[in-house]
Symmetry: C2
């Protein structure tokens, strides 16, 4: 991702946080994280994050998804210090289509990003409107996508260590490479 695209995505994400009435400090806005997962198609597969706090025990983030943007399938496996990250997603704005391991939902609303279908296996659908939430326990495959308005999601979790996440798509790199 080049710097110009990065700034464009940041600006769009800040508009979403504003629509969700999330008040951020100037430093948080500046440090907004853009994850393109190394797939080089950020508007299709990507996620924007603001980390409020991440101690040894507790993490809280705000996530922004652009319209129809997908956070790709992954799970949080056992770590040296625990059984894996546990996370609760609470929708604050827009609609979130969350897919987890389990019985495949018939007539589900969303599909994985086109061309990447082989890297998506979890199809139990949970739809979250503002005020609704869902807790994902460790080692559970999941992915999520927003609807037409984009979405803002609060995440409450145990310690976050992105480099321990296991993605179904082996091409994925979690750390952004800015060019």
């Amino acid at each position: 991702m080049n710097l110009q695209d990065y700034e464009k995505i940041k600006a769009k994400s800040l508009i979403l946080f504003d629509k969700a009435n999330i008040i951020l400090t100037e430093e948080e806005k500046k440090d907004l994280e853009v994850a393109d997962f190394g797939l080089n198609k950020i508007e299709d597969t990507g996620l924007q994050l603001i980390t409020y706090v991440n101690t040894d025990l507790v993490c809280a983030k705000e996530l922004a998804l652009l319209p129809y943007q997908t956070c790709p399938e992954h799970k949080h496996p056992k770590r040296d210090f625990d059984d894996g990250k546990e996370e609760t997603f609470r929708c604050r704005y827009g609609t979130v289509y969350l897919y987890v391991e389990g019985e495949e939902t018939k007539n589900r609303r969303m599909n994985p990003p086109q061309g990447d279908e082989e890297y998506y296996t979890a199809f139990n659908e949970i739809i979250l409107q503002p005020g609704e939430q869902y807790t994902i326990y460790p080692n559970t495959l999941h992915w999520f996508k927003s609807g037409s308005e984009g979405a803002v999601v609060s995440e409450f979790s145990t310690r976050s260590t992105d480099d321990s996440d296991l993605f179904t798509d082996p091409r994925i790199k979690r750390i952004l490479e800015l060019k």
Copy 2:
């Protein structure tokens, strides 16, 4: 506290959450917790809470403080399963005056509730405006109070077990007795 007062405080708290643009489900609104700490002067010493999630590991709540309402001094001591609750307070609306153990702030802005001064010992002042936050580690005495507008605060923490909190004021009962 009688039922009529309880409903009045709930209604005032829901207005504060609305001012903070926090979207709640009907069930969350219905289950809003009112804590009068057994002191029978809720507008002076009290706290209103909505618990989003409280697993073995992670808890997230929204707190509402009426104008100049005080959450009384307490700490979170070691528990069977950890070193005590760790919590991050993030101000979403209004102003929060937080007082923690440490060097006493000169010319601090707020005082403890009148008549209860003997039960307040922590006077290191941290002022939180919307978007600002502070992390309180286990076993640290703290209390907080809002300014003229009241306040809404998001709390991100480890597991919450209210009955393990240690209040400086021995008269305090954490669980509300409705009459």
